[in-house]
Amino acid sequence: MFHTAILIAILFIALAMLGFIYRAIIGPTIPDRVIALDALGINLVALTALISIVLDTNAFLDVILLIGILAFIGTVAFSKFLEKGEVIENDRDR
């Protein structure tokens, strides 16, 4: 019963990821694609958690935090590129 519920949750997360992939491909503007990729990363966190429940292991718990951190840094980098045109500045007070 529990196992079936987890499998159904995996199915729905995968469907949600398909929706975000659609938005990342179609998305008319670049920020649409960035938001879609960020949400894809967060859904990947959920998928990793559900799969580690199915496999009955806690070896993937570090991966969850890692994906969260990498999605945050990537999104910040991309939005700074969209906002200012450069990712790393030499001297921001200039």
Partner: protein, 140 residues
């Protein structure tokens, strides 16, 4: 137009310490659970990259006055020194040793020389990543 990064900078000041703590955890947990020097080094450089994104190269050079080229050299010295240290005890190159030590607060602690080798890997990974990013990112 002058933009205001207050939310990003305040968030970075909190999040960087969490990422660094996670990197230290993943570095020391590498012996028994997934992790180790490579992932720990990449996470540490991820934290420094987040600082670079929120601030700039000059501020970070004042805040963390490291020369990352020297960091690569020190890391390689750590790894080679751990390997060559085994030659002093008449055993083959890169033979590791471990011991158990009872510390007052921490209790039974198993110290392994592979940690020193991993520390070398950690320093080299941080040094190489930050050298690449600073060389490409600094546009002058």
């Amino acid at each position: 137009m002058k933009t205001n990064d207050l939310i990003l900078q305040t968030t970075t000041k909190v999040v960087v310490f969490i990422i660094l703590l996670f990197a230290v955890y993943i570095f020391f947990a590498g012996h028994y659970t997934p992790g180790g020097g490579f992932v720990g080094g990449l996470l540490t450089s991820g934290a420094i990259v987040l600082l670079l994104l929120a601030f700039d190269l000059k501020t970070l050079q004042n805040f963390l006055p490291f020369n990352y080229i020297y960091m690569i050299a020190i890391g390689l010295l750590f790894s080679i020194g751990t390997g060559a240290g085994s030659l002093l005890f008449n055993v083959p190159f890169l033979t590791h040793a471990f011991t158990h030590i009872d510390l007052p607060i921490l209790g039974d602690l198993s110290l392994h020389t592979a940690t020193l080798f991993d520390l070398g890997v950690f320093l080299v990974v941080v040094g190489v990543t930050m050298t690449i990013i600073q060389t490409i990112g600094g546009d002058e």
